[in-house]
């Protein structure tokens, strides 16, 4: 991007003023924020401005956008839960404004019922394609698509630029017209308003100049097509044109789209229509793949191999033509191959993890997928080399195992010697010494907990242990977990109540993982509720197919501006860090990982100093394909 923006940003997804991609951004978290709706303003019959609270640390460059997320859409309707919106406010505003058009879309309908005080999630800021230069440029927008330009104009960037605004009904623009005029005066923007469709003559006065300026175009698909067509015909090179959501369709694009769509719609119906050159296009695609692709006859004799086969196995196509994949395979138990071929010859397809040998003797592991083409006597076999992933996983597992062992050994020494001293086995200790020793003991226990949690996290992330799957009564587990925590509840004089629907069915899961989730949720509620507080736990049936667990407390709550980070690793909210020194910041991360793997959901509502309610839904029938292999501490 040729823009120069004198801004720094702490967000790794923000635009980088580096023309090279040699340094990839280190993105290890999603910049997601839970924000409050400050206002909703309907500016025309179909256009709404939504003003959102701007979170602390949200630094953006005019021209960037956010993803607005309404998680309930996926939860309740299974539809996509996010849409991208340009930021319309200036970079120093305390709020983030977005503009949307009312349509029949489910997302928009949901967005339109939000009211002031409600909250939504936003992810961002994102994008750098639409960041304009500080030098001269041209901005061409239609109706509500003016949003990204508003941010630029309001921030005073790109002074002296030309702005073309089109609005056939003049509704949206009339709302902003006075403000834009004011800004234009202040920052010396040149304005062109129009209620007609874009015409060649609109740009005549500047066509020559336009050739050398970057031009930013935002609007509907038709608008973008029309403007691009005019500009290209006037001699503006395509490289000078920049787009936001909609990119132009050329006559050639439209033709290609139709050819592909016709070809595949016929293909899906079992018909074939002419598409000259299609085999060249797909041959090039296959050759470009980094995965190994071969075609064999029904006896496994190789008819075709792509370039990746040579790269991976070390054999050229000429060397393997007419041979079978035994040249690099054949290392698995022979009965497995027999079963595989029987299955394939009956028309079935197969996906297996197998070990092969390269020409140089080196072994490698692949995920092989083999599919017969009906009626052709041809098998398509693809292989994805997963050796590197497996080696990395193995190294990580070994490292974690050794590291946790090495950390636990000195901790055991500290714990057991302090215990000896405290027990008086080796002589009396004074009251003050006892107090100090107790502190050492508590800290070493905390450290043990941290090591164990880290081990849990690493095993869950690596999927190193097979989970046990059996019929689990979540009610029984909840009762056990409450029993375990009785001492802590009594210590803080916290009242706990537990209600449940007697018809709650059992789930098919690993009881140790379910227990881990319950233990973490209850111990958190106890930890973060002051003395004499209340905790309520409830199990109910949720949407017939899931069970819903709810745990509410009247504790310290989670500060609103930090709610978006609550499920991240090692995160501990500011309001409890000094109050409660124990806690690893890993519990909720572990819970989320386990529940996500069971195809469930975990979410919460919280108000600082009022309390928190965590919700967790787990499907009664956990889909096996959703469950990763998960591990846990023994």
């Amino acid at each position: 991007m040729e823009g120069k923006v004198a801004m720094s940003s702490t967000n790794p997804l923000s635009s980088k003023q580096n023309n090279s991609w040699s340094d990839l951004p280190n993105i290890d978290y999603e910049p997601r924020f839970h924000v409050t709706v400050l206002a909703k303003t309907k500016i025309t019959k179909n256009t709404v401005i939504l003003s959102l609270e701007r979170p602390v640390g949200f630094i953006f460059t005019p021209g960037q956008y956010i993803w607005l997320v309404l998680p309930e859409l996926t939860k309740y309707f299974g539809t996509i839960d996010r849409k991208a919106y340009s930021i319309a406010t200036e970079r120093n505003d305390k709020q983030i404004d977005i503009i949307f058009q009312l349509t029949d879309d489910n997302f928009i309908k949901k967005l339109n019922i939000l009211k002031s005080g409600d909250s939504v999630d936003i992810i961002g800021p994102m994008g750098s394609a639409f960041i304009v230069s500080d030098n001269d440029c041209v901005m061409i927008a239609e109706k509500a698509s003016i949003a990204p330009f508003l941010s630029i104009l309001r921030s005073g960037a790109s002074q002296g630029c030309q702005l073309f605004i089109y609005d056939d009904k003049n509704n949206v623009i009339s709302y902003f017209q006075e403000q834009i005029k004011r800004l234009s005066k202040k920052f010396n923007y040149e304005l062109h308003f129009s209620q007609a469709k874009p015409q060649k003559s609109d740009f005549n006065c500047i066509t020559k100049k336009l050739c050398n300026l970057p031009i930013f175009i935002a609007g509907s698909q038709d608008f973008v097509n029309i403007v691009t067509d005019i500009l290209v015909k006037s001699g503006v090179p395509l490289t000078k044109l920049h787009y936001e959501e909609n990119y132009p369709q050329t006559a050639q694009t439209k033709k290609l789209e139709k050819r592909f769509s016709d070809y595949f719609s016929h293909k899906n119906k079992g018909q074939t229509i002419a598409f000259s050159g299609i085999s060249d296009i797909f041959m090039q695609s296959v050759q470009q793949l980094s995965n190994h692709v071969i075609l064999t006859d029904s006896n496994g004799r190789i008819l075709f191999a792509n370039q990746a086969v040579t790269d991976i196995t070390g054999y050229t196509f000429d060397e393997i033509r007419g041979k079978t994949p035994r040249i690099w395979g054949g290392l698995m138990p022979s009965d497995g191959y027999a079963l595989l071929w029987n299955h394939l010859k009956k028309g079935g397809s197969a996906k297996k993890v197998i070990v092969n040998r390269r020409r140089d003797g080196k072994l490698y592991t692949v995920v092989a997928t083999i599919t017969p083409i009906p009626g052709q006597g041809i098998f398509v076999a693809t292989e994805e080399n997963i050796s590197t992933f497996r080696e990395v996983d193995k190294a990580k597992t070994e490292f974690v195992s050794i590291a946790s062992h090495q950390l636990r050994t000195p901790l055991s020494v500290i714990k057991w010697y302090v215990e000896m001293l405290l027990s008086g086995d080796v002589g009396a200790v004074s009251e003050k010494q006892t107090e100090y020793l107790q502190e050492i003991y508590t800290s070493s226990e905390h450290m043990v907990e941290l090591v164990n949690s880290l081990l849990d996290v690493s095993r869950l992330e690596l999927g190193t242990l097979k989970p046990n799957r059996e019929s689990v009564s979540t009610i029984d587990i909840a009762r056990d977990v409450i029993k375990e925590q009785t001492i802590n509840l009594d210590k803080k004089k916290i009242k706990l109540s537990f209600t449940f629907d007697t018809k709650i069915p059992s789930i098919y899961a690993d009881p140790k993982l379910v227990r881990m989730v319950m233990q973490n949720l209850l111990s958190n509620a106890i930890k973060y509720t002051p003395d004499k507080g209340n905790i309520h736990m409830d199990y109910s049936i949720y949407k017939k197919e899931s069970i819903l667990f709810k745990i509410s407390d009247n504790g310290y709550g989670i500060p609103r501006q930090q709610q978006g980070q609550i499920f991240t690793k090692f995160f501990r909210a500011d309001n409890i860090r000094t109050k409660i020194t124990e806690g690893t910041g890993l519990g909720l991360y572990i819970i989320k990982m386990i529940i996500d793997n069971y195809g469930g959901k975990v979410w919460f509502e919280s108000k600082e100093n009022k309390g928190t309610t965590f919700y967790m839904s787990i499907p009664v029938k956990i889909a096996t394909n959703k469950e990763r292999e998960m591990g846990l501490r023994i």
């Binding site: 050994t409 055991s412 714990k415 215990e419 000896m420 043990v448 023994i634």
Partner: protein, 124 residues
């Protein structure tokens, strides 16, 4: 019989070996100790302990290999073995249980007092 009450501790970390030795001696048990798997095996076959507290990460011969060798011997095949380790890998647990270890304790998760309680139970 006194020999029934002998406990063999196989542990290579000196501070842990010492604290276990001191605590269990205070509790009235007779202790023999070894610092590697090979020495532990020889001592087990010579002393016929009633219980072995066995670490896994040991020099010369690791704890799992020692347990395997122990079970091959008529004397060693029935000795009660409690694994006392800081490894918590599922495979090691499975191997130890398959070789007839009676318990598998992760040291850092256990109080010394509770280890003593368990030993007392085992030797009742």
């Amino acid at each position: 019989m006194k020999s029934d009450k002998i406990i063999l501790i196989v542990e290579d970390e000196v501070p842990l070996l010492n604290v276990l030795y001191d605590k269990l001696t205070l509790e009235g048990f007779s202790i023999v100790k070894a610092m590697d798997g090979k020495a532990g095996l020889e001592l087990a076959l010579a002393e016929h302990p009633a219980l072995i507290l066995l670490d896994i990460n040991l020099p010369v011969m690791d704890g799992i290999s020692m347990l395997r060798e122990l079970r091959k011997d008529p004397i060693g095949k029935d000795i009660e073995v409690v694994m006392l380790t800081n490894f918590s890998e599922y495979k090691l647990l499975a191997d130890a249980i398959a070789l007839g270890a009676h318990d598998y304790l992760v040291k850092s998760d256990w109080k010394l007092e509770d280890v003593v309680k368990l030993v007392r139970e085992k030797l009742k």
